[in-house]
C-alpha cells in the first residue's frame, strides 16, 4: 500500500514539474483495494486493469522502476515506452494491462478465465473496473458470460464516487453496484474499500469460489480517490473540503496502520522502517526514469506484428 501511495504522490509532484507526458490517472487513496485483492492472488492468476492502473500493477508484482520509466516514456520502461501510464502490462506476472478503454478489461478476463478453466491448473482471473465501467455493456455482458460459462473469474468494482467528473450516485442506477450481481446469477457484496481487511476477506471468499469451480463473483469496493480524474483536473465538481476530509478521515493506510499497531506486535517504528525503504525505492525509480534514454527511433516500427 505504501509503495503505491508513494509512487502516486511522487508522480503527482513530478507531473506538476512538467517531466511526465500525456494523461495520468492516479490511484492514491484506493490502495487498500488493489492490495487487499491481490494479496489473495498467485503469480499465475491474471488481472485486467483500467486507466487508473498503477496500483493494480504494483499490487500484482510489476516492477516499480520499469513502471516509472514507462510513465516517463523511456526505452527502459516496462513496455519500452510504447504503452505509457494507461497501458502498463506484464503478462509474466499475470498483469494483462491497464486499459485506456472504460470497460475494456472484463471481456479479456473472461478469456483468461476460460484458459484457466480449460487448462485446469487452478488459476483464476480478476477484473478491476470502476463505477463508470459498471455501466458499460462490455462489463455487463462479461458478467453474464462468466456466469453462463461458469468461469473462474472475480469482478472487482472500485466505486470511487466519480466517473470522470460525473457522480456515481447519479450515473449508476442502483445504490450498490454489487446488487447487479443478482441479475447475472452470481454473489455480490459491497464493502468499505478503505478497509484493507474487509477487502482481503471478501476477495478471499470470491477467489476460493472461483478456484473451486463455483463460478464468478462481484465485489464492490466503495472508496475515494485523493486526486482528480486525471492530473490537471480542476476538480470543481467536488465539494470544497472533500479531499481534505477524505485524507483526514478515510485514509486507508492510516486505518491499516492504526489497526495493526494496536492489534499486533508490529510497531510504529517497524512501519517507519518500511516507509523509509519505500522512499528509497521510489526516489531511485524516479532518478532512473529521468536519466533513462528515449526509445530508439527504429522502435517506432517494431512489434506491430510477430511476422508480417
Amino acid at each position: 500500500m505504501k509503495t503505491i501511495r508513494e509512487f502516486e504522490e511522487r508522480v503527482h509532484v513530478e507531473f506538476a514539474k512538467g517531466g511526465i507526458p500525456g494523461f495520468v490517472h492516479l490511484y492514491a487513496g484506493e490502495e487498500a483495494s488493489a492490495t487487499g485483492v491481490c494479496m489473495n492472488l498467485e503469480e499465475d492468476d491474471y488481472i485486467a486493469s483500467n486507466h487508473r492502473g498503477h496500483g493494480h500493477c504494483i499490487a500484482k508484482g510489476v516492477e516499480v522502476t520499469g513502471m516509472m520509466s514507462e510513465i516517463y516514456g523511456k526505452g527502459s520502461g516496462t513496455c519500452h515506452g510504447k504503452g505509457g501510464s494507461m497501458h502498463i502490462a506484464d503478462l509474466d506476472v499475470g498483469m494483462m494491462g491497464a486499459n485506456g478503454i472504460v470497460g475494456g478489461g472484463p471481456p479479456l478476463v473472461c478469456g483468461a478465465g476460460l484458459t484457466a478453466k480449460l487448462r485446469g491448473k487452478g488459476n483464476i482471473a480478476l477484473a478491476f473496473f470502476g463505477d463508470g465501467a459498471s455501466n458499460q455493456g462490455t462489463t455487463l455482458e462479461s458478467m453474464n458470460l462468466a456466469s453462463v460459462w461458469k468461469l473462474p473469474v472475480v469482478f472487482v468494482a472500485e466505486n470511487n464516487g466519480y466517473a470522470e467528473a460525473t457522480a456515481s450516485s447519479w450515473s449508476v442506477s442502483c445504490k450498490d453496484i454489487s446488487t447487479r450481481a443478482a441479475g447475472f446469477g452470481m454473489p455480490g457484496t459491497t464493502i468499505d474499500g478503505h478497509d484493507f481487511f474487509a477487502v482481503h476477506e471478501a476477495t478471499r471468499a470470491a477467489v476460493e469460489r472461483a478456484r473451486s469451480g463455483g463460478g464468478p463473483s462481484l465485489i464492490e469496493c466503495k472508496l475515494d480517490r485523493f486526486f482528480g480524474h486525471f492530473e490537471g483536473d480542476n476538480q470543481k465538481y467536488r465539494e470544497p473540503n472533500e479531499v481534505k476530509t477524505i485524507r483526514e478521515e478515510s485514509d486507508c493506510i492510516k486505518r491499516f496502520s492504526n489497526t495493526i499497531t494496536n492489534d499486533t506486535e508490529i510497531t510504529v517504528s517497524d512501519l517507519a522502517t518500511i516507509d523509509g525503504e519505500v522512499q528509497i525505492l521510489i526516489d531511485d525509480a524516479v532518478d532512473k526514469a529521468i536519466a533513462g534514454a528515449d526509445p530508439e527511433p527504429e522502435k517506432l516500427l517494431t512489434d506491430v506484428y510477430i511476422r508480417y
Partner: protein, 337 residues
C-alpha cells in the same frame, strides 16, 4: 483425380485438422454448436450456415456456444489468446463488428505494440461477409477494408475452397490476430482441395489466370466474377491476368506491380463501397509505385456509395457483376486507341 469439396467444408476441414493437431485450438461463437441448454439435439446447427457442423461430436467442450454478446465473446477470445490458447472465434456476420470492434482494434490489434513486444495474441476471428443473399443492409456488407486499416491485424479473404482451407490453417497457426473473411455466397462453391493439411502463407497473391493485356486485381467472390469476365473477353482476343491478393494485410505489392508492368492496364474489382476501400488502396499503390507502367487510367469496379439494398432488383445492381468488369476492361483497352 483431385477431390472436390465445398468452400464451407474446406473451412470445416481446416478447423477439424487444426483442433486434432493442437489442443490449444478452441472454437467459440453464437450457435457454432447450436442447441446448448435446449431440450433437443446438440450440434443442431453447427453454425448458422452449418460450417462448424460435426466438430462438437469430435471435440466436445473445445467448441462452445456463446450468449449473443459479441463484445464479451470476442473479448474473451482475445483474452484467451493472450493467455495461451488459440481461439477461433466466429463473429457470425461481419456487420456485427460494430458491437465488438473495441475488442478487435483497441485490444487485440494493439497488445503487442503497447506492451513493448511482450504479448502474443493468436486469435482468429472468422466472419461472414458479402451481398447476394437478399439479406439487406445489416447482414450483407463487405467490410474487410476497415480491418485492413488497423495496424496489428492480418486480414484474409479466400476466394476458393483450396485457399479457404490453406489460409485458415495458416491463420490458426499464425501468432498475430487474424480477421478471416468468408463470403457467404462462396460457401456452396466447389473446388479441388487436398485431404492433407497445408498452409498458404499470408502476403502471397495468387495469379488465378495469366494474360498480358490487362491486369484485374479482384478480391474474394469478385475473383470468380473476374474469371467469368475474362473468359468472355478472351473470345475477343483480350487476355486478362487475374491477381487475387488473398490477404489484404499483409498485401503482396510486388505481384500486383509486376503484373501491371507487363500489361500496362489495371482494373480493380472490390465488392466494398468505393471510398477508402481496397479498390482505392490498390489504385493508390499502383499510381505511386507503378505510374510509369500505366498506359491508361486505372478503372475501379465497386459497389456504389450506398447501403446494401434488400430488393433483388436493386441488390443485383449493387453488386459488381461480370458484365461491369468486362465493360471496365474494354474501357481501359480502348483508352488511347
Amino acid at each position: 483425380m483431385a477431390r472436390k469439396i465445398l468452400y464451407q467444408d474446406a473451412i470445416n476441414e481446416a478447423l477439424d485438422q487444426e483442433m486434432a493437431r493442437d489442443d490449444s485450438v478452441i472454437v467459440m461463437g453464437e450457435d457454432v454448436v447450436g442447441g446448448t441448454g435446449a431440450g433437443g439435439e446438440m450440434d443442431a446447427w453447427g453454425g448458422v450456415l452449418g460450417v462448424t457442423k460435426g466438430l462438437y461430436g469430435k471435440y466436445g467442450d473445445r467448441i462452445m456456444d456463446s450468449p449473443i454478446s459479441e463484445s464479451a465473446l470476442v473479448g474473451a477470445a482475445v483474452g484467451a489468446a493472450a493467455t495461451g490458447m488459440r481461439p477461433v472465434c466466429e463473429l457470425m456476420f461481419i456487420d456485427f463488428m460494430g458491437v465488438c470492434f473495441d475488442q478487435i482494434y483497441n485490444q487485440a490489434a494493439k497488445f503487442r505494440y503497447m506492451f513493448g513486444g511482450k504479448a502474443t495474441t493468436p486469435v482468429v476471428i472468422r466472419t461472414m461477409y458479402g451481398a447476394g443473399f437478399r439479406a439487406a443492409a445489416q447482414h450483407s456488407q463487405c467490410l474487410y477494408n476497415i480491418f485492413t486499416h488497423v495496424p496489428g491485424l492480418k486480414v484474409v479473404m479466400p476466394s476458393s475452397p483450396y485457399d479457404a482451407k490453406g489460409l485458415l490453417i495458416q491463420a490458426i497457426r499464425d501468432d498475430d490476430p487474424v480477421i478471416f473473411c468468408e463470403h457467404k455466397a462462396l460457401y456452396a462453391t466447389e473446388g479441388d482441395v487436398p485431404e492433407e493439411s497445408y498452409a498458404i502463407p499470408f502476403g502471397e497473391a495468387n495469379i488465378v489466370r495469366e494474360g498480358d493485356d490487362v491486369t484485374i486485381v479482384a478480391l474474394g467472390r469478385m475473383v470468380r466474377f473476374a474469371t467469368k469476365a475474362a473468359e468472355a473477353l478472351a473470345a475477343d482476343g483480350i487476355n486478362c491476368e487475374i491477381v487475387d491478393p488473398r490477404t489484404s494485410s499483409p498485401f503482396d505489392e510486388d505481384t500486383v506491380l509486376e503484373s501491371v508492368e507487363t500489361t500496362g492496364r489495371l482494373v480493380v474489382v472490390d465488392e466494398s463501397n468505393p471510398r477508402c476501400s481496397m479498390a482505392t488502396d490498390i489504385s493508390s499503390l499502383v499510381s505511386q509505385k507503378g505510374f510509369g507502367f500505366l498506359q491508361a487510367p486505372i478503372e475501379m469496379v465497386t459497389a456504389p456509395h450506398t447501403p446494401v439494398p434488400f430488393s433483388g432488383a436493386l441488390e443485383d445492381l449493387y453488386i459488381p457483376s461480370p458484365d461491369k468488369i468486362e465493360a471496365a476492361v474494354r474501357k481501359t483497352v480502348a483508352y488511347g486507341n
